[in-house]
């Protein structure tokens, strides 16, 4: 019997009957997409773990007892690279040759004043000299760059620099025992161009795996008249329910295995060996996307299991209309929305820094949870559609409402796919908007000058003069910054005092026009400029260049980059430039990944949506004649089926929109999102419009075929 069922299942799966074609294409394509997406998600998780591993290893261990060195971190910003960390090291006397203080990716400590650059900096044409260092040959990577063990990616910016001869890293430097052993570690990272473990796991599961498995679940339920007939015949012949279940499972398994095999092949050729992903700027470490064979097998098993269970579950769903769907099925979704809302309040509730990370995690997990629970919530809510249809006092709406209520599980599916599409598009859009809106760097816009404030550690009396002279030779102007005396400190924060000759000189130095920079007799001010700008004579200004100075403003013509500024301060320890005015070079490399995830998630779901509508059309084709025989006209039956497909959207799309808004609103506190009402609403409207258009088009097309047949 089992062999017989296997034979029937295989024949059925590979049947050449045209009515089985849609199901074959659906499952094979669904399994192919799902396998690729699941394996890609696992690859990205692998990348995330690797990233966290490598960055963790380059974070120095904070140690108060056995101190082998001091460390400091600065974060310069370059136009083509955004912000990157410079890790400054200063070995304690006697520890210079201790292997424990050699950072990963280096074979030895650089000599004093030397630095090792990441291959990403080198690839963009920067040398150690460009950034104000002497080159070191201590890197284990290509052309003496930092080796892979010390990198998150081949494209990131990262510099390991040793304090110049005779200089310390200053009083703010951190004591460290090196890069090995236990203990808390001092964070080095600024912005990475690859996701770390947490973001990779949440992002890959939420935006790749879940949508793909959702689409696969729909595919496995694809309608096939042939299969239904075959199962019914077997049932009449006396095959037990278990046997028919086995038939369905095997038939699905055969088709899904074909798709999965193609998926593994595609992943193996197009993803695993790559160090670049389409649309993403980062160049990954070799092997970052590769997976062990066991992991691949687990991914494939997940896909096949999902397909088979979905097919079995679909078979259990009665095809005949039935009564109520429990309202309880709304609860998990409601709970996810509630938790998302609560997530926004976690830091206030816990009153600690740990609350921040916990809050973001809770928000993300609840956000992913809403993706899974939304589909369950829609069918029970469709119960009200009959009332809506009746209230419309319109026969088309009345009958469509009845159809929706009677077949809410099946009719909900395209709507659910559209709702999840709206939700994920809205949530990712809010996160992308959050990147720009919550950029950690703000620069006074100026087209005339590029202005930095530069600080450094272990300052010596002639540092300012040397730097000012170098800057002058390179074509830049400078002003010394003295701290604001405590007595003068107003309610506004102040970054210090600088003195210019007069108002015009101040405007010229900062490259700001009369509207932006306003002057009194003694001072100039501009919104967003936290320096106190005073006017004084040249002697006065000479006087301020003294040991009292804590930093320096550098004003350069357009075209200067932070590298040029760093070079001016070459030979000083922990040089930390911060742009005050000019053009902002900061950007978040996470943008690429989020945009990529959004395109992947919406693309996968759009395929799912079209497929579900395809399913609907097949069912409608079968049912249309039912309405026509009952006496309805072509146009009327089109309207009934069109409405029956769109009415559930009226329930589901607002749910998707609501979820996206709740996610967006509660992520703003963590700077994870921007609450962009317009964009989320626009996405929702777009999806709704698109779906309506697809439904209209398919019905029109179907009718043309029907008419053509009738007139033959």
């Amino acid at each position: 019997m089992n062999l017989a069922i296997w034979t029937v299942a295989r024949r059925l799966a590979l049947s050449t009957d045209r009515r089985q074609r849609w199901r074959q294409i659906s499952i094979v394509a669904g399994a192919l997409i799902a396998t690729c997406a699941v394996l890609l998600a696992m690859s990205i998780i692998h990348l995330g773990l690797l990233t966290s591993d490598h960055t963790g290893a380059r974070h120095p261990v904070v140690d108060s007892g056995e101190s082998r060195m001091t460390v400091a971190v600065t974060g310069p910003i370059l136009p083509d690279l955004s912000q990157f960390p410079v890790l400054w090291l200063d070995p304690a006397p006697g520890s210079e040759d201790d292997p424990a203080i050699i950072p990963p990716g280096l074979s030895a400590l650089p000599a004093p004043g030397e630095a090792v650059l990441s291959p990403g900096l080198l690839a963009r044409g920067y040398t150690a000299e460009d950034l104000g260092f002497a080159p070191s040959r201590a890197g284990t990577g290509l052309r003496h760059t930092i080796g892979d063990a010390g990198l998150a990616s081949r494209s990131e910016g990262f510099v390991v620099a040793r304090a110049p001869e005779g200089r310390s890293l200053g009083e703010h430097a951190i004591a460290s025992s090196g890069f090995r052993g236990p203990g808390p570690r001092y964070p080095v990272e600024t912005v990475l161009d690859v996701p770390a473990a947490g973001a990779a796991i949440v992002g890959a599961i939420w935006l790749l795996m879940l949508p793909a498995l959702m689409v696969l679940t729909g595919s496995a339920r694809a309608v096939s008249q042939v299969r239904t007939e075959r199962a019914e015949t077997l049932w009449r012949l006396g095959v037990r329910r278990r046997g028919i279940g086995l038939l369905v499972a095997l038939e699905t398994l055969v088709l899904a295995t074909i798709g999965s095999a193609l998926g593994v092949l595609l992943w193996g050729v197009a993803i695993a060996p790559r160090t670049h992903l389409p649309g993403i700027g980062a160049s990954l470490l070799p092997g970052a996307l590769d997976l062990p064979g066991l992991a691949v097998a687990a991914g494939v098993a997940l896909v096949l299991l999902n397909a088979t269970l979905a097919a079995l579950w679909a078979k259990r769903e009665p095809s005949r209309p039935r009564g109520g769907v429990s309202v309880l099925r709304v609860l998990p979704f409601a709970a996810c929305l509630a938790v998302m809302t609560l997530a926004g309040w976690v830091p206030q509730l816990l009153r600690s820094d740990a609350g921040y990370d916990l809050g973001v995690t809770v928000l993300m997990v609840a956000g992913a949870g809403a993706t899974i629970t939304l589909p369950m919530a829609v069918p029970p809510l469709l119960g009200g559609m009959a009332t809506v249809g009746r209230l419309l006092r319109q026969p088309t709406a009345w009958l469509a409402g009845r159809l929706v209520v009677a077949r809410r599980s099946t009719l909900a599916r395209p709507a659910v796919m559209a709702a999840v599409l709206v939700y994920l598009a809205g949530a990712t859009t809010a996160m992308i908007a959050g990147l720009t809106e919550n950029a950690p760097v703000s620069v006074l816009p100026s087209a005339q000058r590029e202005v930095w404030v530069v600080t450094w550690a272990d300052s010596r009396a002639d540092d300012i003069d040397t730097a000012a002279e170098r800057a002058r030779q390179a074509g830049a102007e400078t002003l010394a910054v003295t701290p604001t005396p405590a007595a003068e400190a107003g309610p506004e924060p102040s970054d210090g005092i600088v003195t210019t000759e007069d108002c015009a000189a101040a405007r010229q130095f900062f490259g700001l026009d009369e509207q932006t920079m306003t002057c009194t007799n003694e001072e100039a001010a501009a919104p967003g400029l936290w320096f106190t700008v005073r006017f004084g004579s040249a002697e006065n200004r000479e006087g301020t260049i003294s040991a009292a100075a804590t930093g320096m403003l550098v004003s350069a013509p357009p075209g200067w980059t932070e590298a040029d500024t760093l070079a001016v301060f070459s030979g000083l320890p922990v040089v930390n430039p911060w742009k005050v005015a000019g053009t902002s070079d900061f950007f978040s490399p996470v943008y690429d990944w989020l945009a990529g995830a959004m395109i992947a998630a919406t693309g996968i779901l759009a395929i799912g949506l079209v497929r579900e509508i395809g399913d609907r059309v097949l069912v409608v084709v079968g049912e249309r004649s039912r309405l026509l025989r009952a006496g309805l006209r072509d146009g009327e039956s089109d309207w009934v089926y069109g409405l029956a497909t769109l009415l559930p959207m009226a329930v589901a799309l607002p749910l998707g929109y609501l979820s996206a808004r709740i996610f967006a609103a509660n992520g703003t506190g963590y700077a994870v999102t921007a609450d962009s009402v317009d964009i989320v609403a626009m996405v929702a409207a777009l999806v709704a419009g698109l779906t309506a258009a697809v439904v209209a088009l398919t019905l029109w097309w179907q009718r043309r075929i029907d008419t053509g047949r009738g007139e033959s």
Binding site: P321, L399, R626, R629, L632, R633, T707, G710, E711
Partner: protein, 220 residues
């Protein structure tokens, strides 16, 4: 008054295969005509032409004087709904709505007030003897009950003048088949409309006023 149905010189062909040629038929008010013929002789095809679902290759069809040939699909659809009642081997009831709503459905779609349409449906159900089923769902009706509901739906419209039925008794047992035929021919006589009933069942044919064999064409 125009006769319910006149057919002249009908030709039905699928590609090169000519199925029916030079077929004519005249059905008077109150008259039921049984359409017989071996399987594949073109009964269903002919009925589809009568109700305007397809067009014959040649010939002329009029329902109560209204032409069904040489007019637009929309005109044929209007005639189909206004003048013709249809019943098929499978009753084709909509499972989503109850019995009375099934019967009233075309009236509802024409914009009749809900109460009026449902009252008409009840009258029609009463006429075929199943008024008690009006509020029931259709899922659990017996075959005979479902056929009666289907017939009530075909007859619900006051303006209809031709009943077209394609093997309406094929899924019923002998007793029920006879009962339904009696019911149909009785209603046809009572309302003064015409009927064309395609059937393989001699007992059904016996209850009609006339039998037309599709093989011997040009019967009049």
């Amino acid at each position: 008054m125009q006769p319910p149905l006149t057919v002249e010189g009908i030709e039905i062909a699928y590609g090169d295969q000519v199925l029916v040629k030079g077929f004519g038929l005249h059905v008077d008010a109150g008259e039921s005509v049984a359409l017989m013929g071996p399987s594949g002789s073109g009964k269903t095809s002919l009925l589809h032409c009568l109700v305007g679902l397809s067009r014959p290759a040649a010939g002329e069809i009029r329902i109560a004087g209204n032409p069904m040939t040489g007019v637009s699909a929309a005109r044929r659809a209007d005639a189909r709904r206004g003048l013709i009642g249809t019943a098929y081997q499978t009753p084709d009831l909509l499972a989503e709505v109850n019995v009375a709503e099934n019967v009233a459905i075309t009236l509802l779609f024409e914009g009749a007030a809900r109460e009026d349409a449902l009252a008409a449906a009840r009258r029609s159900l009463a006429a075929v003897g199943v008024e008690h089923l009006a509020e029931r769902g259709v899922a659990n009706l017996s075959g005979g009950e479902a056929q009666r509901v289907s017939l009530a739906r075909a007859l619900v419209r006051e303006s209809m003048c031709l009943l077209v039925a394609d093997e309406p008794t094929a899924s019923l047992d002998g007793t029920n088949a006879v009962r339904l035929s009696d019911l149909m021919t009785g209603m046809v006589r009572e309302r003064g409309i015409g009927a064309v009933i395609a059937t393989h069942d001699q007992r059904v044919a016996d209850r009609c006023d006339r039998v037309v064999e599709l093989r011997d064409v040009t019967v009049r």
